[in-house]
Symmetry: C4
Subunit: 294 residues, 4 copies
């Protein structure tokens, strides 16, 4: 059987097909600072909503949060016990808690309520985990998932006293539904290749940005691993990006490694901003991009 | 000499060049049920019109039919003796019998009559077997083939008291001729690479669907090996697909293997239907497809 | 240094990027017969204007001619002594004698006169041999070459009592000049990669055919090695093709090998004509071609 | 991490994607002579503004200059002590001195003044060296660099009594700023891949030429290594090219090696000019280019 359907490989190749021109005159060192939901951060490079980081190293989820905090970055987190989330929030990291599309909405509301109570930065759902690859609902670590309606999405938004975000948007249609339901932000993602032949996030990003007309922030996930990747995502209309897999090896290194790599990626981004005449994130110009067709 | 003309490889690469966006909100588990010629089936995944399956395992043709029956799938069969066809039909599989373009029309009419009599689901002809690769008529297992006219096609359609289908359509022109001759369905196919540099079925499928204006069902053959392939074919306008070579190894496994693989492919298809917001086959939206050019 | 400039490899890749649809209904066995300069041939597959075939096998030039004759094909020949040309013509092969762009026009006129006298089929010049790769005139086996003007071309045409053809046309501009000078046919060719990064003949062929408005026959040379290649050249507007390198190994085999391979390629062509509904060369339809962009 | 962002490899692939048609009739041996800033040179092939050539061989900078002089080519030079520049100028080579964007403008003015005084051919700045890859200013061999404004550029132009050129232009926007500031020429360059995913110089060259409306000469740098590369750059609107890395191995060979390779490349260029009907540089016709998309 063909193995050309690896969505992560396809996504990598799309990143790599985008080239940059430069604009040096009247440029200078830029700022990569970002404002999100009324708060100020050092970088648009955020950690991704990873789960089960204890499998990488003991206390991995908290270590990742500390890294994000030290780097002045927004932190995202995925599945995990209430205690783990509390430990994450205690690091000081401004944390977006992503909740799975549990079959029972009561579970979802309880998790939203807990996150609200302990003071997360935002809360959200990775809707792309509702189905499995065999035509049924997914079951994640024994917990049953279920499909959700726009109507249900409105109830999650209403229940959340924090910004509510949706992760797993990979079309203008879903982006529009999120915007209409009052979602505070969306993550363009195929969940690290949760299905084959996924269109690369950057390939649908311009359509999504047009569809939501900049009413809500748009984040990009999947395969981001350098400042060049971040630059391309922002130039195509993203407000920030999530870096996941690429940071996981840092968890096995010393305590500063996560923050150091986030800072490095940010510096790589700043270098390309400087080379293309953008003094702040909002000035990154899609006109500097060129697309390979050779 | 160049070996870049392998039609199966080219077809594989075209499948692989098609990418998918997702639409999760308001989606739910889909049905893959299909109605064909007034009957209801569990899946649009059909077996292909293979011949000589005894060479794979003894009783292979009947074993394939049983598998299709168990999976609730339409069964297709190719060359074979009258007794073999009768055994196939006795499995209960709703069977499309494909007849070769024999030089002598009397042979064709006799085979149509036999198929009619024993109650096949449909009957048809694989017109792409009339010529060989050396500029002459083909001879298949000693039997002479011949080119056929639209006029002759009308006589086959008339002789058949069942739906008459044509396999081996790979252009809008041939599709139009089939529709005008009263054919009940066409199979877009290059007969597993019977000639080099064949255009991939999915590349001409949209033209063919436009040309026949949905008056007759259009099936896709050649290289289908996963639910993703099926999804792409259906999104581009096919009503169902035939899976051939990919199922042959199942004949060497235990009795349930053919049905199991048809069911698996159907589940893979359903998973992608769910992820793209299609609750039934007719709702699969070509708008979810993106084409690689990078 | 890059070795991606191999014109023969680029030409091969362009052949390979062209795909075919089929049209079986109302098609039948075709004829590949060709009329050229008022004479009838069995095939549009011609030998190419090779030189120095004695280096392949003793008497190679004559053996190639005999092969062309036996296959009912037009024969082309390149550099060689008067005696060799006479032996070639004596085989009965209808022979196009290609003369180099010798510095001294007297040499050219003498060769035209000799060819006229011994009854060649046509005579011509491979203009692409006038320059070398170091910015000077070429010297071929010690003989000095020189650039030529349209005015000189008219004198060659006038001197020839046979059809005069030009080999080495790779642009609409040169094709127009040839047509205006009264040339009887042109060979679209980069002389087997005589310079790097040559555009593939088939890529400029449609422009050349439009420019010459079918006033003169257009032949295609370089890398033709199968009936599929011939079919694509004819579909894009060529009247015939030359096969050179691909036939050279046949010279080392038994006497019938050249004719056998020409016949085989012709049969491969006929097979594709049959599959695409062309009963004669003039009916080959460019509409059956599809171009890869995936 | 992906290593597909190698700007030199991408640049090579773009060169390789450009193909050439030919125009032989009425063509003849061309001249590759070039006039620049009122002086006449034998070739549009110039040496690139390399630095630290002593690391390649002792006296490398002067050896390169002598090579350029012997070949009748314009010589460019990068960083180096005043004494080295004087020795270079004493070779007789018409030399373009490229100055780094030093943090302290006084350093720049001093270097301009020195170059003026010793009689260089032209002076300029490689603006693409102002930033490093970590979001800060670059430091080159211990010397601090800084970003520069168009206003500062005007002061450099004014200070120079020679033509002032800018190296490191890779967008129409920067080219326009250079033209408006009175710059005498620009080098389209990504400084041998100083950042990843740089658009190939030839890909933005046509835009740059349109933007500057032929008011100032445009040079192309990066990856030029053959006459075919030079031809393509000139056909797309460049007035001349710089060859750097490709000439460095010549420094390790005997004294004539640099001049010999410049001459060879020029001859390769002349060969392609001859084959495409250009008798002088200004006659090179973009219409002979074809772009691969297969």
């Amino acid at each position: 059987m063909s193995n050309q359907g690896d969505s992560n490989q396809i996504t990598r190749e799309y990143f790599d097909s985008i080239l940059l021109e430069t604009r040096y005159w009247d440029s200078d060192l830029p700022s990569a600072e970002m404002t999100l939901f009324g708060e100020r951060f050092s970088t648009p490079v955020m950690t991704a909503a990873l789960s089960h980081l204890d499998n990488v190293c003991p206390g991995g989820a908290v270590k990742m949060a500390s890294g994000a905090f030290d780097a002045g970055a927004v932190h995202w987190t995925g599945m995990g016990e209430a205690e783990e989330l509390e430990a994450i929030v205690e690091t000081g990291a401004r944390t977006v808690k992503i909740i799975k599309p549990h079959a029972d909405d009561a579970v979802i509301f309880e998790k939203i309520e807990h996150a609200n109570r302990i003071g997360v930065f935002a809360v959200g759902m990775d809707i792309d985990h509702c189905f499995n690859s065999r035509g049924g609902y997914d079951v994640v670590t024994g917990l049953p998932m279920r499909a959700k309606t726009s109507e249900q999405l409105r109830t999650y938004v209403a229940a959340s006293r924090r910004p509510f975000v949706v992760k797993g948007v990979l079309s203008a249609k879903d982006a529009e539904k999120c915007a209409e339901a009052g979602v505070a932000g969306i993550v363009v993602s195929h969940h690290h290749g949760i299905f084959p032949y996924a269109v690369p996030p950057l390939m649908v990003l311009p359509e999504i940005v047009r569809a939501t007309e900049h009413r809500i922030p748009v984040f990009v996930d999947c395969g981001v691993e350098s400042g060049a990747d971040v630059f391309k995502a922002l130039a195509l209309g993203a407000d920030a990006v999530c870096v996941g897999r690429h940071l996981m090896p840092c968890l096995k290194k010393d305590d500063g490694a996560v923050a150091a790599r986030i800072t490095e990626i940010t510096q790589e981004l700043m270098s390309l901003m400087a080379r293309t005449g953008a003094s702040m994130l909002a000035e990154i110009d899609p006109g500097v991009l060129h697309f390979r067709a050779f």
